[in-house]
Each structure stands twice: as structure tokens, then as C-alpha cells.
Amino acid sequence: MGKQGNYSFTGHIRPRQIRAGALRLRATFCLGGFSFLAFIVLTITGVLLLFYYQPGDRAFASLSEINSVLPYGGFLRSLHFWAGQLMVISVFLHMVRVVWSRAYRPLRELNWITGVVLFGLTVILDYSGYLLRGGQESGAAATVGQALFTSLPGGKALATVFFGQPSPLNGSTLNMFVWHVFILAGAVGFLQMFHFWRIRRGGGVRPL
């Protein structure tokens, strides 16, 4: 394959050389990278939880079993939970860093907008995960969201699309599950790839 063959896939998606300035800790505080790392951990632990978790009426019981019966289940759930909270915090702090270094200016404007959307989706993803717990607290939280949608004109249909039909005692529905696991997580995954591609275009380095 000649000389170029040595630079495999990673060689292709990452630059061979980095500006020294971009490597300084205070250029990024690693916050974008930490957000991505959290997403990777969430994807791995999330897929493992999928093997056992059942949305709907069985949600609370299946989560309790994961938590206390399944080997390492409690550990897995705890990792998924804490990685989720850390992701929200690091995405927010990453945004503060971007504003502080005024990295939202031209060439990077589109990435700023992508970022704001990512921030919104990350927060909603965290909320949708909370609803999947399937107990009374999740039911209460789902009721608030559902009521907000129903208060809009024609909002009843929207509320059903997003929430399904949760009871005040159980917020876990098939609808919420599909949003959390496929649509929202998929959109965040896709937008991150776009974000990283734009970072290279803007002359930066990704991810950590």
C-alpha cells in the first residue's frame, strides 16, 4: 500500500500534527472531550441495560431486578446514572468555556448553533431517562411534562407522541423509551459527529 497505507483509519480522521496552542489545558479544559467520553460510557452501559429493562408496566420491577438481583446490575445502573449527570454538567461547562474564549465567532457559528441544540437535547435526554425509572416520582415528572404539552392548542396529540399514556404512578411508557433510546440518543450521537467534523473545519482539534 506504500507509505500512505500506514495511516489507517485513525490517521485519516485525526490530524497528524496539532497546534501547540490548542493543547494548552486552558484552551479547552478537556470539557468537550469529557462530554463525549460520558456519551460513550452512556452508550455502552445503556446497551447493557437494554438487555433486561422493560418499559411500561414492568419498568419498575425490571429496574429493581437489575438493581439488586442481576450480577453487577446495580453497578451498571449507577454508572449509567452518574455518567448522565456528569454529561449534563460538562456540556454546560463546555458551553461556558466556548463563550469565555469567544469561540462562537465566524467560522464557528454553525458549531455554536449545533452546540446549543446538543445542550438542549442532552438535558431532555436526562429527563427522559428519569421517566424510565417507572415509579411514582417518574409518574409525577411525566405528568408535569404532559400537562405542559396539553396546555398548547392541539397539544394533546403532541403529548401522546412524546409521553404515550403514563399514569401518575409510572412515567415509563414505550413512547418515552423509544425517544430516550433511539431518537434522542441517536440525534445526539449524529450531531456530535457533525460537531467534530466542524471543529476540524474551524481549525480545532477533537475530542479531548
Partner: protein
């Protein structure tokens, strides 16, 4: 609008030769990534081992009266407990998101310092309310 490689803005030579433009091999970044990953995973494992994640109250147990939001929506919940739903649940959050989305435009319009001040006020209000809600809900 995309720039192809050759059309990227060229960095002036003086800047290119100053320290921050100096080029280093990828491995310098990778070493930092390994250290960062290690420290972050350390924090995650410490949280996982140290703080138990609670289960909800069972849906089969006697219904307890709760009005609860996860902490990420704590600020909205706090507002909802005080003001009408259309304002607390729609107008204020959507307005805040629109200000965020248009921050680059604000930066040009009112200057970088004001853009920073607007962002700071917005963030402090939301983070502040989140803490207020959270501290009220654990008491």
C-alpha cells in the same frame, strides 16, 4: 457553506511562527487524552461506588403525594410552582434558548463584553434556580 482545504484562511506567518502556532505530533494530544480519560473515569467510579442511586417509590405502594422534577428541570419546576404554566414552562425556557442560539449575533450587535454579561446572567439565573429547587426538595 463549507471551505475546502485550500480555501481555509491562512494564518499569517508571524503568528504561525509564534509559540501557540507551533506544530506538535498527534501523540502529544493522545497522551493528554489518556490522562484525561483516566482521571474522568476515576471520578465516575468514585461517584458510582460512593453514592447510591435511589429507586423510585413503587407504583404498587400506596400513592404518596409528590410533585417532583429531576434536578435538570428543577429550575422550570420552581418557576411552575409560582407562575402560570405558559410563562414558566414555555415562554421563559424558549426565550432563554433563543438568546443562547443567537449569541454570536448579540456578540456582533452589542459587543463581546455584553454578550458575555448576557450569557452570565442567563446562566446564573438558571443554575441558581436549579440549586434553590434542589435544596428545597431535599429538605
Amino acid at each position: 457553506m463549507d471551505l475546502i482545504e485550500s480555501e481555509r484562511p491562512q494564518v499569517p506567518v508571524e503568528v504561525e511562527q509564534s509559540g501557540s502556532q507551533e506544530k506538535l505530533p498527534l501523540i502529544e494530544l493522545q497522551v493528554r487524552e489518556y490522562i484525561g480519560t483516566f482521571l474522568w473515569l476515576g471520578l465516575l467510579f468514585a461517584l458510582t461506588a460512593g453514592l447510591k442511586v435511589p429507586l423510585d417509590s413503587s407504583p404498587k405502594a400506596a400513592a404518596i403525594s409528590i410533585s417532583k422534577a429531576p434536578w435538570v428541570f428543577g429550575a422550570i419546576q420552581w418557576l411552575l410552582q409560582r407562575w402560570p404554566a405558559w410563562l414558566s414552562g414555555w415562554v421563559l425556557p424558549l426565550l432563554s434558548m433563543s438568546v443562547l442560539l443567537t449569541l454570536p449575533w448579540w456578540g456582533r450587535k452589542v459587543g463581546k463584553t455584553w454578550a458575555w454579561i448576557i450569557f452570565l446572567i442567563l446562566s446564573l439565573v438558571w443554575v441558581g434556580l436549579t440549586f434553590v429547587y434542589w435544596s428545597e426538595s431535599i429538605n
